[in-house]
């Protein structure tokens, strides 16, 4: 799956116990903040994502792990390419609760 996407990619998933959206970080942990995500830019790094997913699933901490394409906005912040992933990153766009 990872290889079909074009562009810089990060891994995302949801915490098994809580369900919260998280991103895979440089130090091999998971963060709720996309800005902390480890970015795969080269072909080798992108190929490695599948291995990382398999390893991460073994830890039984995060589920539904997959890569998403990210870009940098004018301020240099990471932003998901797809609106669905933007929504996952920022939470509902409405005032709720």
């Amino acid at each position: 799956m990872a290889k079909k996407l074009k562009g810089d990619q990060v891994l995302t998933g949801q915490l098994l116990r809580e369900g919260d959206v998280v991103f895979y970080t440089e130090d091999g942990n998971w963060s709720p903040d996309l800005q902390n995500a480890k970015i795969a830019t080269t072909a080798e790094q992108i190929d490695e994502l599948d291995v990382l997913i398999a390893k991460a699933e073994e830890t039984n901490l995060v589920i539904d792990i997959y890569p998403i394409v990210v870009k940098r906005d004018d301020a240099g912040k990471l932003v998901p390419d797809l609106i669905r992933e933007k929504m996952r990153t920022t939470g509902p766009s409405i005032v709720y609760a």
Partner: protein
């Protein structure tokens, strides 16, 4: 209302205990996600965009005050202080944590509730008319038969792994408020001149990517034959429904591809071969169930009491609310009070814990402790004395629950859309909010009259857009949300699928487009009483197209 017997109670408790064990094994890693996923779905637990989501069954949309308070407690303790009432008359919690879900199921079991069969390819919650038992236009109360079907379909061994999910709706009224024509099976309960009960059976209705209006395949099947006939339909579907393609797996596709006559012949053949006496309810069971649905102990009450008419004449806001939200009741001096969960610019179907607690209290005070959920995502107090309506309304106003818009343009069915849903392609709620703001003026809403706008955030049509007088479907084109508009759909006894009017609109432009359509309707109507839908049927789409796309 129906109260669980020992069997139901034990069954729900056992299921909650089973799920606790499954969650423990999942968290410890003994169960993989692949193994656990179908187990959690069997208990109504989905993984949505931001969190887990729990869908709790509200059988045929009927709740007691104590059940509503428990839902409020769950919202407070385990969620973010609110719940979302759905088009299946259920409630969803958007933020539960997996580690808390076993406790939540125990708390639900304490009040006779659960989340069984709110997901998966099984028979889902049987839905019904939210005014069942009290509507002035009702032949007979459909709830005892809905309850019978609940019992029959719960963990039915033959029908637990159907090709796809299966939804049944039942009404006993001439006005269809349960959208029976858009269900896998729709049932209309009738009473003949001899006072006998019978059921007209519709099959193969549905929304989604292939919307279809259900076809009648049986007139007036007897009560004794109801369950055997349902078995025959489901067996035909279970055997021949497509399992090779998820998008063609619903019974509507089977009925369509087979042809109604041939499908009916298959059902009848299975039905003829059944040992019906073994499939029908045991003697006395219907009567036992009916015993739970006797009407409450109404007091003799004057119709249109002076206190009520005086309050109406002195308070325009109350009068507006009565006109839109209060419906005729079978019992003189009583009324059906509909509580809108569509405040202007609010989130359709959402209720906070405080609102749920208030409604529970008000139901206890004014409506025999019973609450209904409508498929249009509102609440109902079904047995309110007319002389209590003003007091009730005064209690609803400060809680934001007195919006006078039932059936009006701002009373929109709206799916959670891309703000919550993992399947959505576009947001629904912000579009509904913009439309709601645009039509906030009460006088304008009253002038427009009945107009059902329904919004879905993807082709799965959870927001019933096909059945909207104005339907809005959110899609994604080259990474941008855009919205297709349909006209002329209807979810009632005149069921019809809306037609696409033309090219779609951006999220910012939808409310303006609806405004244009409504203005054109006002110009076109012969008299104020001619509804939007009647005008669309009379003049067709062309005048509306011209209005919408004249400048394009």
């Amino acid at each position: 209302m129906y109260v669980y017997d020992d069997f139901d109670e034990k069954f729900v408790r056992e299921r909650a205990a089973q799920f606790r064990d499954q969650v423990e094994r999942r968290l410890s890693g003994k169960l993989s996600e692949a193994h656990f996923r179908p187990l959690r779905l069997m208990n109504g637990v989905y993984l949505q965009l931001h969190a887990y989501m729990l869908r709790v069954a509200v059988p045929y949309g009927t709740l007691s005050s104590s059940q509503m308070r428990q839902l409020a407690m769950i919202a407070t303790k385990y969620d973010k202080g609110y719940g979302h009432f759905t088009t299946r008359q259920n409630i969803q919690f958007n933020w539960p944590k997996l580690k808390d879900l076993p406790d939540i199921l125990d708390d639900l079991a304490d009040v006779g509730m659960h989340a069984i069969q709110t997901s998966g390819n099984c028979i889902r919650n049987v839905t019904s008319d939210q005014w069942a038992g009290v509507a002035a236009d009702e032949a007979t109360d459909p709830r005892p038969y809905a309850e019978l079907m609940r019992q029959w379909s719960s963990l039915h061994p033959e029908f637990s792994y159907l090709p796809r999910k299966f939804k049944i709706a039942i009404t006993g009224a001439s006005s269809d408020r349960a959208a029976i024509a858009f269900h896998d099976i729709g049932l209309q309960v009738l009473k003949n001149d001899a006072g006998e009960i019978g059921f007209d059976v519709y099959v193969g209705g549905g929304l989604g990517r292939t919307p279809m209006v259900g076809k009648k395949i049986r007139d007036f099947i007897s009560l004794d034959d109801l369950l055997p006939y349902l078995v025959a339909i489901l067996r035909a579907y279970n055997l021949e429904g497509r399992r090779d393609n998820k998008y063609k797996a619903r019974i509507k596709i089977l009925v369509h591809e087979t042809g109604v006559d041939e499908f009916k012949a298959k059902v009848e053949k299975i039905f003829d071969g059944l040992e019906k006496d073994k499939l029908t309810a045991p003697a006395g069971e219907i009567e036992r169930i009916q015993g739970f649905f006797t009407l409450p102990d109404y007091q003799a009450a004057e119709a249109n009491p002076e206190t009520f008419t005086k309050a109406r004449s002195e308070n325009a806001a109350f009068d507006s609310w009565v006109k839109r939200n209060v419906a005729a009741h079978k019992q003189a001096g009583y009324a059906i009070a509909n509580i809108s969960l569509k405040p202007i610019a609010g989130i359709p179907g959402d209720a906070t814990d405080e609102q749920m607690n208030l409604v529970a209290d008000l139901a206890e005070k004014y409506s025999f402790g019973e609450i209904r959920v409508s498929h249009e995502q509102n609440l109902v107090l079904a047995h309110v004395k007319e002389e209590d309506l003003f007091e009730l309304w005064q209690a609803l106003v400060p809680a934001g629950l007195a919006t006078a818009n039932i059936g009006a343009i701002t009373d929109m069915i709206t799916c959670p859309g891309l703000d919550y849903c993992a399947l959505a392609t576009a947001r629904s709620i912000p579009v509904a909010q913009k439309i709601s703001e645009k039509f906030a003026d009460q006088k304008r809403q009253e002038d427009i009259g009945d107009l059902k706008v329904k919004i879905s955030g993807c082709i799965n049509a959870c927001g019933h857009h096909h059945a909207g007088h104005i339907g809005i479907l959110g899609l994604n084109k080259k990474g941008e949300e855009y919205y297709q508009i349909t006209l002329g759909g209807s979810g009632d006894e005149s069921a019809a699928v809306g037609e696409i009017i033309g090219p779609g609109f951006s999220g910012d432009d939808v409310a303006g487009a609806i405004d244009t359509l409504v203005n054109r309707y006002v110009e076109l109507r012969d008299e104020a009483s001619e509804t939007f839908l009647q005008v669309v049927k009379r003049v067709g789409l062309e005048p509306f197209k011209e209005a919408l796309y004249a400048d394009h």
